[in-house]
């Protein structure tokens, strides 16, 4: 069986992971129908699940694809979705995970959750809600909001799916105008859409089945998603590893073997023999042994967990970092974009728990400088941030951290903010620069 003998490539694993994308849309613009359509076409819906839908639809009526995604009892009762749901389907070329963010209450909070770790965002545009006679054509505020939020959260690819084109009079003309408006908006906002696709989620046009709807001769939505590249920071020159788990004889992990420092490589690559410096101690040593799960390795790339044995015993704990010497610039005061997710507003000067990499420490918001208007990406001066607000802040951490800009490094550039009293996840910080 060639399967069991297939050689692993430690540098490549991360790029072979499923493509994770979030779907952004408002109530009634067909998002649940689109997801139902993807699952149905991806053969992820099985007969008993269809039976349940057909029973609910009543004899002879078409099934409601949107019902495939309402997971919780309250959602079925209220006909809404409450929390981010994860769905799985596969095509011949790729595996997919959909992070489905509901479009109404707690919107930013859910979208931040869905966007963190997503490779792409599919923003739904409901063609029937636009005034197609108006010149110039105005996009809906939620379309701008969803796309700008995805951009703000640095989702690598933003795709627009222009839906319900089967329900407008002149689909070709309508799509041409919506596409022009989306392109103009994206150019103004400073991003290039990965695609703009005319679809009918209800009938399946251009979702997985090619159709001339909207004058399309381009790829279907699925073909587009199948081809999107994934970047995991593997190309960085210098290695950075947050130590997650220290295995030694005492904790039962490795018997009599030397201490193994396990951590997922955040950027670059760890190689046998390479010199690494420990943060914060500043001591350095060489990699004497390198492990991945179940076997030895010579090099381990970004996105994979490495087990590092150093050539001399250093004091290293969970929360420390291993780095190529001379490549980190520790700082304790920094500017960051703060997405606030807690119903209790952010309080300047209050001590919060911060999680950076695998380390918990205390920190405080030294100043709130502005709030981002996600309809325009303009900044408004403010000193308060409440639930679902996104703003620019200055943060003071209890001690220095090997921070990086979030644009360069999704691991060293992100922090969690946790309320010390309630233990709720209050917000997340995307690092911009030292302050």
């Amino acid at each position: 069986m060639g399967l069991a003998l297939r050689d692993n490539d430690d540098r490549e694993a991360a790029t072979r992971r499923p493509l994770r994308f979030l779907t952004a849309g408002s109530v009634d613009d067909g998002k649940s129908t689109l997801i139902g359509r993807l699952l149905l076409d991806g053969r992820a819906i099985l007969a008993d699940q269809l039976d349940a839908l057909e029973a609910r639809a009543g004899g002879g009526q078409p099934i409601d694809l949107a019902l495939l995604t309402d997971g919780l009892e309250a959602e079925r009762e209220q006909g809404i979705t409450i929390d981010v749901a994860y769905r799985y389907f596969a095509t011949a070329k790729r595996k997919f995970v959909i992070a489905d963010a509901p479009g109404h209450e707690q919107y930013t909070r859910n979208m931040v959750t869905a966007a963190a770790g997503s490779d792409a965002a599919v923003v739904l545009v409901d063609a029937t809600k636009l005034d197609l006679a108006r010149e110039p054509l105005q996009l809906l505020p939620q379309t701008r909001r969803h796309a700008l939020l995805a951009k703000l959260l640095r989702v690598p690819h933003i795709v627009f799916a222009v839906n319900k084109l089967d329900a407008v009079a002149d689909a070709d003309g309508a799509f041409a105008r919506v596409r022009a408006a989306l392109e103009a908006f994206a150019a103004e906002a400073g991003f290039a859409p990965a695609g703009i696709v005319p679809i009918s989620a209800l009938h399946g046009d251009n979702v997985s089945r090619p159709s001339a709807l909207g004058g399309s001769d381009g790829p279907t939505l699925l073909e587009l998603l199948e081809a999107l590249p994934v970047d995991d920071g593997a190309t960085a020159a210098a290695a950075l590893v947050p130590v997650q788990f220290v295995a030694n004889a005492a904790n039962g992990g490795v018997g009599h073997q030397a201490r193994v420092l396990w951590g997922r490589v955040a950027r670059g690559e760890v190689a046998l023999g390479a010199e690494l410096v420990v943060f914060p101690s500043g001591e350095s040593a060489r990699v004497a042994e390198l492990h991945v799960a179940g076997r030895r390795a010579e090099r381990v790339g970004a996105g994979r967990s490495a087990g590092v044995v150093l050539d001399r015993q250093l004091d290293v704990s969970r929360g420390d970092w291993l780095a190529t010497p001379g490549t980190i610039a520790p700082t304790s005061r920094f500017r960051a974009t703060l997405a606030w997710l807690d119903t209790e507003p952010a309080i300047v000067g209050r001590k919060y728990w911060l999680r950076h990499g695998n380390r918990w420490l205390q920190g405080r918001i030294a100043a709130i400088e502005s709030r981002v208007d996600v309809a325009t990406l303009g900044h408004r001066a403010t000193d308060a941030l409440g639930v679902n607000d996104i703003g620019e802040v200055v943060v003071e951490a209890q001690h220095e951290l090997p921070l990086a800009s979030f644009d360069d490094d999704r691991v060293a550039g992100a922090l969690l903010v946790v309320d010390p009293a309630s233990h709720r996840t209050s917000g997340t910080l995307l690092v911009r620069a030292a302050a």
């Binding site: 069986m1 409450i82 997650q244 490795v254 073997q257 233990h423």
Partner: protein
């Protein structure tokens, strides 16, 4: 076992490199749980998903050549007393072979304590496991339970976090879950609270079988085709056992069957199959048209929301 089916022919389209990515994620979550909590335990029923998690834990914590080392946490089995004997035999054999510590929490003890009251003696004990589980959490002061639940199993589970918080009554609050951002898990707990950790959240039933095949993970024999006496009841095949005798008028048949899930004997049903190896199960799974729980679990058929209700009460 039959001769292995050449998988490349069955699966020309599936890139097996994705199993490495799923393995990496699962092992990362196992190490995170072991590092972030004081007293974790791995829920182990000897079902296929928990066998996969146990295998992943071996890879996460044991280096090649140190097979006699122990995992940094014990295994915990909630024993309903209604078990398939071959599953319990398998559980004990693998625990012995790996040298792990096994804690067994007996539902019978909860009945004796009066914390579980059965409406009738033949009532399914599956839903009552939550009580016994939470009693074990309190007795052993466990602060994290590692489970083999997957998001593809059921709609309420699709909204489950990878690290899922339980309050001091062991309850899940689905409307108030902690946002989960990248791998920055919020592991902070107050006294009496605990966390559930689901390392194979993002795996599908097919992934599980592909991995069982690739890693040659041993499973209880009833996961593969065997002769078994069954009766047909409400569209399901119900195994004939001392606990589940045929009802009046039901015809007992001997069929070739295998189990897709294994739980309490009174609510777990097999499907007709002649798949005698993991590769053949993979082939059947690719062709399957009924979901895992729909085909095999009487308890999930009670209502569309039955899983969610049980989860809120502390079920796993």
């Amino acid at each position: 076992m039959n001769a292995p089916t050449p998988l490349d022919r069955l699966l020309p389209e599936i890139d097996l490199g994705q199993l490495d990515a799923l393995e990496e994620e699962a092992i990362f979550i196992l190490r995170e749980t072991a590092a972030a909590f004081e007293r974790p335990a791995l829920l182990f029923s000897a079902g296929k998903d928990s066998c996969v998690v146990l295998h992943l834990a071996q890879k996460a914590f044991k280096l090649t050549g140190s097979a006699k080392a122990r995992l940094p946490f014990p295994l915990l089995h909630v024993d309903t007393g209604h078990n398939f004997p071959e599953v319990i035999a398998f559980r004990d054999a693998i625990v012995e072979e790996l040298g792990e510590q096994l804690v067994v929490a007996h539902l019978e003890d909860s009945i004796a304590r009066g914390s579980v009251r059965l409406a009738s003696t033949d009532e399914s004990r599956n839903g009552h496991q939550s009580v016994t589980l939470l009693e074990a959490v309190e007795e052993h002061h466990f602060d994290a339970l590692i489970g083999g639940a997957r998001r593809d199993e059921e709609k309420a589970r699709a909204k489950e976090r990878i690290l899922s918080h339980r309050d001091s009554f062991g309850q899940w609050q689905p409307k108030n879950q902690r946002p989960e951002l990248w791998t920055l898990f919020n592991t902070r707990l107050k006294p009496g609270e605990h966390m559930r950790a689901f390392p194979i959240s993002n795996w599908t039933e097919l992934d599980v079988w592909l991995y069982i095949q690739r890693e040659r993970i041993a499973l209880p024999s009833l996961y593969y085709a065997h002769h078994r006496e069954v009766v047909r009841r409400r569209g399901l095949l119900v195994p004939v056992t001392a606990l589940t005798p045929p009802k009046a008028g039901e015809r007992v048949e001997t069929l070739d069957v295998r189990f897709r899930t294994v739980g309490d004997i009174s609510c777990t049903c097999p499907v007709e199959s002649d798949a005698a190896s993991a590769a053949e199960v993979v082939a059947e799974t690719l062709a399957v048209t009924v979901s895992e729980r729909g085909a095999t679990r009487m308890d999930d058929r009670t209502s569309d929301a039955s899983m969610e209700r049980r989860k809120k009460e502390g079920y796993f």
